[in-house]
Amino acid sequence: MIVETSALTKRYAAHAALDGVDLAVPAGSVYGLVGPNGAGKTTLLGILAGLRRPTSGSVRLEVARDRVATLPDTPQFDPWLTGREVVSLAARLAPSTPAGKVDEVLAEAGLAEASDRRAGGYSRGMLQRLGLAATMVGEPSLLLLDEPASALDPAGRREVLDLIARLRGRATVVFSSHILADVQEACDRIGILRDGRLLFQGSLDQLLVGRATPSVELRLRSGGDQAAALLRRQDWVTSVRPAGAALIVGVRTMDEAEARMAGVLAESSARVISVGPREAELEDVFLELTS
């Protein structure tokens, strides 16, 4: 493990921002720290970055402190510095930076053309990418990224997620997010935080298998309301919720759904497009764990 914490606790007066967190991040992994706002993600990353001190517990980093790079959620830089100067400063402050690395990371972040413009004129997405370039330039062994894509538009998010994906194998990445799709796409290990407690950590497969309630996805052309009402009255149905044009029907067991779903739909006047088992998604498990 490149990062391990043991019974890590951080208190602000009576409030426990972190409560006995045992984090374990394998070397080379992309670790997603998921949790609702106020769960303790930023506090945990702040402690790992050395910016905050734990109230109790311990942190063990299998990497020198100067090989750790941190990116805050909304990176800001002196507006009178150019993008190139920001990355050059980060390169100079890193323990060792290969020649030509500044240009390389600026190009990788898609900022080659804007590198001589002042950061004060950068968009939010460009600042985020500039932050990532400054974080990557020293070739750190461990990157701590706090909500790196949460505040960006879809195109900006895509660029940042692609950058993170390209870091796989080159460094260990711990990034926090409340956008589950980002975590599901980018991470191979996940930790779920709520109210300062680490409710789960492991691989995505470990998290999904057997945890979420089995469910069926119904696609109906019409009669959805009547079908939903009828389904809610069935004792083998645990929940019915709309998801776009579909209905997600939580069931006690898939056996019962396979045996009885067709009958209920026949009884309603719904026109059925498709019926199929729905694979558990991170969002289902997240809601199950954090609700």
């Binding site: 702040g46 910016l51 790079a69 800001q76 830089f77 009178w80 100067e85 980060a90 100079r92």
Partner: protein
């Protein structure tokens, strides 16, 4: 790009260096002018029938006029400019960029301190040169030795003011709070110096040394103040580093 160059660029690109130089140059040019013509100006606007007699202005009056203005407005600008650099924790995201890349805040504080002291001293030197030249033209040459000693004492006093800002910035987070608290301490120090007649022992006393030395005071009178100020500079910087290292973001 180094942290030293970062601080130099901060002074130059934000035009704070221009502000420092302009303020001191302005008072350097207007101080002796005011001393030379103040009597005539007041005489011209005086009440009819009342004649006010002003003594003939001396070179020391020209320099004292400069010092009087520069030690207030100039010091205010020095404190504001240095607070904007030394209160680097005021914006968390910027602070994270710097703090996670250095072993301790010493690496951030010292370049910011040194560059801002250099900027302040450059302003004092320019202002003093202007005041010296204009005084020599209008009122006669002030003694060179007294001028050089006074500038040196004033520079040390400014170095203390910037060190005090560094210390305050480690106690409070915002730029305005750091500048305001430093100015409050400087003001109280000045009042204490005047009230208890220990001005020459205090950093604020050194700021006015230039005027008093050209008026004939012995340079040695300020040596105790010089020693106290140097000690306080070291203590303030050590405190800034120690408190800064302990601060959480």
């Amino acid at each position: 790009m180094t942290l030293w160059r970062l601080e130099l660029l901060r002074l130059v690109r934000t035009r704070r260096l221009v502000a420092l130089l302009a303020v001191y140059a302005f008072f350097g040019l207007t101080g002796p002018l005011t001393a030379r013509y103040l009597g005539r100006i007041l005489g011209a606007i005086g009440t009819e029938g009342v004649q006010v007699q002003f003594p003939e202005p001396t070179p020391a009056d020209g320099i004292t006029q400069f010092v009087g203005n520069a030690s207030q407005i100039g010091l205010l600008v020095v404190v504001l400019v240095s607070a904007s650099a030394l209160a680097f924790d005021a914006r968390r995201e910027m602070a994270v960029f710097l703090r996670t890349r250095v072993a301790g805040v010493r690496s951030i504080v010292l370049p910011a301190y040194a560059i801002n002291v250099a900027g302040a001293v450059a302003g004092l030197l320019l202002g003093s040169a202007c005041a010296w030249y204009e005084t020599a033209i209008l009122l006669g040459a002030p003694p060179a030795g007294a001028m050089l000693a006074g500038i040196a004492y004033g520079s040390v006093s400014l170095a203390f003011a910037v060190a005090l800002v560094a210390f305050m910035a480690a106690l409070v987070r915002s730029v305005l709070a750091a500048a305001g608290s430093a100015l409050a301490v400087l003001l109280l120090t000045g009042i204490l110096g005047s009230a208890a007649r220990v001005g020459t022992w205090l950093p604020t006393g050194l700021l006015g040394a230039l005027g008093e030395l050209t008026a004939g005071r012995a340079p040695g009178d300020y040596l105790p103040g010089l020693a106290v100020t140097l000690i306080l500079i070291v203590l303030a910087l050590a405190g800034a580093v120690r408190l800064g290292d302990r601060r959480e973001l």
